[in-house]
C-alpha cells in the first residue's frame, strides 16, 4: 500500500506541479535543505489522522505534494493591512529550512491565518484553493473554447471529438434542468447555469485527483456560488414573486402576517442550503477517502492498507458519481429558484 501510494502520489502531482510551475512561478521556491528523514520518523511516531485529513481538506498558503525536496509549491501571499498597505511575498518566507513556521517581516502565520502585530490582516493570497480555482477556470476555458471551435469547424456537420462529448451534457442541462424549471425565457440564464454546472463538475472531479486541492468542498467557494445565485434570483424576481413573499395571495389576513417572516427567511435559506449541500457532500467524501487511507497508517498494517485501498477505490467511484450529482443538483436548484422568481403567473 505504502509503496503504491507513494509512487502514485509522486507521479501524478509531479505533472500537475510541472504544469503550474510556470503560472505560479512567483511562489515557486523550494526547500533548500533536506532534513526530512528525522522529521518523517517523528511524524510517523505521532501520526494524527484528523490533522492529516484536515490538512488535505482545508485551504493553505503552500501546496504540499510530498515530503522532501521540491515537494512543496510555495504560493504567493497577498495581504492588506491599514498599517502596511498591500504587500506581496512568497509564502516560503514563513518557513525555515526545517519547514518550521517562522515570523516574517512582522507577519505571523498561525493556523492558516496571517497576523500583523496580533491583529488579522486582510488576506487575498493565492492560496492552494485559489491556485486550484485558476486551474479549474483555465481548464474550463480551454475545454469549452475547444468545444466552441468544434461548432465553428463542423458547422452543419455531425459533432466530432470533444464537441460530441460535451454536446449531450449541454443539451441535457438545457432540456432536463433549465428549460423545465425556468420556462420559455430560459435563454437569459442559460450561460450562467452552464458555467455553474461545469465549474462545479470540473471542480469536483479535479478535487478527486490525488494531490489537488478541495476547491468545491470549500465553504467560501460554495458560498460565493450560492450568493451569486441568490443575487440573480432576487434581481430577476418579478411582481408575482415579491407579491408572494410579502402578501401571499389566497391566504387569510392573519396568516399572511405569520407567513411573511417565513417567506423572508425562505429567501435566505435557499442560498444557505445550496452552500452547505455542496460543501458537505464534497468535503465529506474527501474526509471518508482520507480516513480510509489513514487506517493503513494508524494500524501500521499492509493487510489493512490493502483492504482499505479496495474500499477507497469503491468510494472513489461513488465520489465520481457524487461529483456529477452535486453539479446537477446545484444547477437544478438554481434553475428552480430562478424559475420560481420569474414565473409568469401565480400557482396558488
Amino acid at each position: 500500500m505504502s509503496l503504491f501510494s507513494s509512487k502514485f502520489s509522486k507521479i501524478v502531482p509531479f505533472f500537475i506541479a510541472l504544469f503550474f510551475a510556470g503560472i505560479l512561478a512567483f511562489g515557486q521556491e523550494h526547500e533548500q535543505s533536506v532534513a526530512v528523514d528525522s522529521a518523517a520518523k517523528s511524524e510517523a511516531e505521532s501520526f494524527n489522522a484528523s490533522e492529516v485529513i484536515l490538512h488535505h481538506v482545508l485551504d493553505d498558503h503552500v501546496w504540499h505534494f510530498w515530503d522532501g525536496h521540491h515537494g512543496t509549491l510555495f504560493l504567493p501571499v497577498i495581504v492588506y493591512s491599514s498599517e502596511r498597505g498591500l504587500e506581496t511575498f512568497s509564502s516560503r518566507n514563513f518557513y525555515d529550512e526545517h519547514h518550521n513556521v517562522i515570523v516574517y517581516n512582522g507577519y505571523t502565520l498561525e493556523h492558516g491565518h496571517i497576523y500583523l502585530n496580533g491583529s488579522r490582516v486582510f488576506d487575498v493570497s493565492i492560496t492552494k484553493n485559489v491556485a486550484m480555482l485558476f486551474i479549474t477556470a483555465a481548464l474550463l476555458m480551454v475545454v469549452f473554447l475547444a468545444v466552441a471551435r468544434g461548432y465553428k469547424k463542423n458547422a452543419g456537420k455531425a459533432p466530432k471529438g470533444i464537441q460530441s462529448f460535451f454536446e449531450p451534457i449541454i443539451v441535457f442541462i438545457r432540456d432536463e434542468i433549465v428549460k423545465p424549471n425556468i420556462g420559455p425565457h430560459y435563454e437569459k440564464y442559460f450561460p450562467y447555469l452552464l458555467t455553474l454546472f461545469f465549474f462545479i463538475l470540473f471542480g469536483n472531479l479535479l478535487g478527486l485527483v490525488p494531490g489537488s486541492a478541495n476547491l468545491t468542498g470549500n465553504i467560501a467557494v460554495t458560498l460565493t456560488l450560492a450568493v451569486l445565485t441568490f443575487i440573480l434570483t432576487n434581481v430577476s424576481g418579478n411582481k408575482a414573486y415579491w407579491g408572494h413573499i410579502f402578501w401571499t395571495p389566497g391566504v387569510p389576513l392573519p396568516l399572511r402576517i405569520i407567513i411573511l417572516p417565513v417567506e423572508l427567511i425562505g429567501i435566505f435559506t435557499k442560498p444557505i442550503s445550496l452552500t452547505v449541500r455542496l460543501f458537505v457532500a464534497i468535503t465529506a467524501g474527501h474526509i471518508v477517502l482520507l480516513s480510509l487511507i489513514c487506517l493503513a497508517f494508524i494500524f501500521h498494517s499492509v493487510v489493512v492498507g490493502g483492504v482499505s485501498s479496495l474500499i477507497v477505490l469503491f468510494i472513489n467511484l461513488i465520489e465520481l458519481l457524487v461529483a456529477g450529482i452535486q453539479a446537477y443538483v446545484f444547477t437544478l436548484f438554481t434553475s428552480l429558484y430562478i424559475g420560481q422568481a420569474t414565473a409568469d403567473h401565480d400557482h396558488h
Binding site: D60, V130, Y192, I219, T224
Partner: protein, 164 residues
Amino acid sequence: MDLLIPGEGLIIWQLIVFVALVFLLSKLAWKPIINSLKEREESIQNALNTAERARAEMAQLKSDNEKLLKEAREERDKMLKEAREVANRMKDEAQTDAKKAADKILAEARAAINVEKEAAMRDVKAQVALFSLEVAEKLMKKNLSSDKEQKNLVEGYIKDLKLN
C-alpha cells in the same frame, strides 16, 4: 484555515474568477455553442418537416393514381359490358330477322305448294272423273250384257248407298 468559516481571500478570488468565467465563456463558448445547437435543431426540424410534407405528397399522389386507375378500370368494365350488350342485341336481332325471313319464305312456299296441290288435285279429279267415265263405259259395255249382272250392279249401288 477553518473548515466552516469562509475565507475572505478565497471569496474575493472566487467571485472575480467565476464572474469573469461566466462572461468569457458566455461570449466565447456558450453563445456559439447554443446558437449552433439551435441552428442544427432547426435545420433538422426543417428537414423532418420537408420529409413529412414530401411523404404526404407522395401518399396523395399515390392515392390519386389509385383513384385514376380505379376509375379507368371501371370505365373499361363499363365499356366492355356495353359492347357485350350491343353485340348480344345485334345477334338477337339478326337471329329474329333471319327467323322471320325463313318463316316468310316457308309460308310462301307452303302457300305456293298448296296452290299447286289444289291445281294438281283439280287436274287429278278431272282426269279421274274422265277415267272413271271411260272405265264405267267400258264396264257397262262389257258387264251389263246379262240381267243378273245388272241386278248385281243395282244391288251393289244400293249397298253403297246404305253405307253412305
